[in-house]
């Protein structure tokens, strides 16, 4: 009985469950972690009810239960065991890490004087920097600072360059990271120049605000026909992938031109010029001046269901094949419409067939790869 009272005195966070003091329940706080303890005394012999947190120490507890007959001694040993086993995971003093980060950061700033801007957040957890390349383009880099993980202190979290595996490896040195970033920018110069050439000489539908990452452009030829060109950023002299969007009657013509001229592609010449040669064009059409007052309900090229160009960042992709209709639809919009008039829509396997919501003359069909709609 004395021992039980001593438990109450030494472990005030364990409460007796009954008047005979044979059952205790409560918590042990070791290294800022709470462990749930349910202690049973049978004829003075202690035993523990196991739970998830304690299961890590199961072997020790079993051994302890077998050897120890004194409840107070049992609890003392348990505390000792848990405390010694968890000791290694305690956070160490971070001032060394902070000092390291600050030295790295200041040295870095002083060394690279051509940095456009460079900032570190107040809690030293993030660095944002921008740099200019030789053509005056700005490139941004965001770095996360890790204090706990030992070697890999700096980690690139965001950049706008095309993804490449060997770039953006975590490193203990800021300058190593930055050098890799600069090297990638330098390698990408021909690609970036080419993309700029497209951006300034074409009527671009998508992306709206191109980032270096975006290695494709959707170029409009006129209201009804456009081309998606995708460039390999690391090999931009090669033949880009071309995909035409528009009614079949206009597209097939262009497609045959491309396949005829493909063998004349010159890998050493300027890619922009080669693309024009491929299409037998002297220049790309430029964007027509839009009438400020919107006379039409929806502009050509826009989806005639939601009356907009972009829906969840996607452009209309389905086109009615009726030459006097040629309306565009977002896959999502057309799908929702065909489903909502299910009585008139035919489904075969994963394809939906229904009337074009605009002209109602022809069938539009939709391959249902739309699990997320």
């Amino acid at each position: 009985m004395d021992r039980s009272i001593q438990i109450l005195l030494e472990y005030p966070s364990l409460l007796p469950k009954n008047a005979e003091l044979t059952e205790f329940y409560g918590y042990l706080n070791i290294h800022a972690t709470d462990y749930e303890i349910h202690l049973l005394l049978e004829n003075g012999k202690p035993s523990l009810k196991m739970n998830e947190k304690l299961s890590k120490f199961q072997n020790d507890i079993v051994r302890l239960t077998n050897t120890c007959t004194d409840p107070l001694h049992f609890l003392n040993s348990l505390t000792e065991i848990i405390s010694s086993k968890t000791a290694c995971s305690i956070k160490k003093n971070l001032s060394d890490s902070y000092r390291h980060i600050l030295t790295e950061y200041t040295e870095f700033r002083e060394f690279y004087i051509n940095l456009n801007s460079c900032m570190i957040s107040e809690d030293l957890s993030a660095i944002t920097l921008t740099t200019l390349d030789e053509y005056g383009r700005t490139h941004e880099l965001s770095i996360k600072v890790n204090c706990d993980t030992g070697n890999n202190t700096f980690n690139i979290t965001r950049h706008y360059l095309p993804d490449k595996d060997d770039f953006a490896v975590p490193s203990a040195s800021l300058s190593v990271l930055y050098e890799a970033f600069l090297k990638a920018i330098e390698e990408l110069q021909p690609y970036l120049n080419l993309m700029d050439q497209f951006d300034s000489n074409c009527w671009i539908l998508d992306p709206e605000t191109p980032k270096p990452k975006d290695c494709y452009r959707r170029i409009a030829f006129d209201n009804n026909i456009s081309m998606v060109i995708t460039i390999n950023p690391w090999k931009c002299n090669g033949i880009p992938s071309l995909q035409f969007l528009g009614s079949e009657r206009l597209v097939s013509n262009l497609r045959s031109k491309v396949s005829n001229n493909l063998e004349n592609w010159d890998f050493k010449a300027d890619t922009f010029g080669e693309v024009l040669k491929l299409l037998e064009m002297s220049s790309f059409p430029c964007k027509p001046q839009m009438d400020q007052r919107e006379e039409v309900l929806y502009n050509t090229g826009e989806c005639c269901i939601c009356f907009s160009l972009r829906l969840n960042e996607k452009l209309p992709e389905v086109i009615c094949s009726n030459p006097s209709c040629e309306q565009f639809f977002h896959i999502e919009c057309l799908y929702q419409w065909l489903v909502s008039i299910a009585a008139k829509t035919k489904q075969t396997f994963n394809e939906l067939h229904g009337d074009c919501p605009n002209c109602e003359k022809v069938n539009v069909s939709l391959v249902e790869n739309l699990q997320n709609v």
Binding site: L297, S340, I341, K344, P357
Partner: protein, 154 residues
């Protein structure tokens, strides 16, 4: 999802270049209720009247049609005393002819045309339709009386 964007676009269009004799105003911020007015077209007994309509936009607009009804009373074979309109465009297929490409402006124009050309072969009000077919003068007199009584500012 498409609803908000599309309605904003429709309102911008209709306020930018309003069609003749038709107006549309939003009743609340959420764009779920609109009030439309149609000015009675010339050469009809509705001439000079102003007819107000209530337009309610369903949640899945434009995939289902808005519901429309007249708030102003009028004497017409295809419009009942509660203002309900018999128009195939505001019903879902296969019974009706609603298409997501139509829009509010198109519907208001269609209703205006219904005022100009009643359709007695698909009537909502049997008696009025019979009258319209057999005794047009009486129909016109009654319709005009309704217009003067309910649709003109006093």
């Amino acid at each position: 999802m498409q609803k908000q964007q599309r309605l904003l676009r429709e309102i911008a269009k209709i306020t930018g270049s309003p069609p003749k004799g038709i107006s549309l105003t939003s009743k609340d911020e959420t764009l779920t209720a609109f009030e439309g007015s149609i000015i009675g077209p010339e050469n009809t007994p509705y001439y000079k009247g102003i007819f107000n309509l209530e337009i309610l936009i369903p949640e899945n607009y434009p995939f289902s049609p808005p519901s429309m009804k007249f708030l102003t009373k009028l004497y017409h074979p295809n419009i009942d005393e509660n203002g309900r309109i018999c128009l195939d465009l505001i019903k879902m297929p296969p019974k009706g002819n609603w298409k997501p490409t139509i829009g509010l402006e198109g519907l208001l124009i269609a209703v205006k045309m219904l005022l100009e050309h009643p359709n007695p072969d698909d009537p909502l009000m049997m008696e009025i339709a019979k009258e319209f077919k057999n005794d047009k003068a009486v129909f016109e007199r009654k319709a005009k009386k309704y217009t003067e009584e309910y649709a003109m500012p006093k």
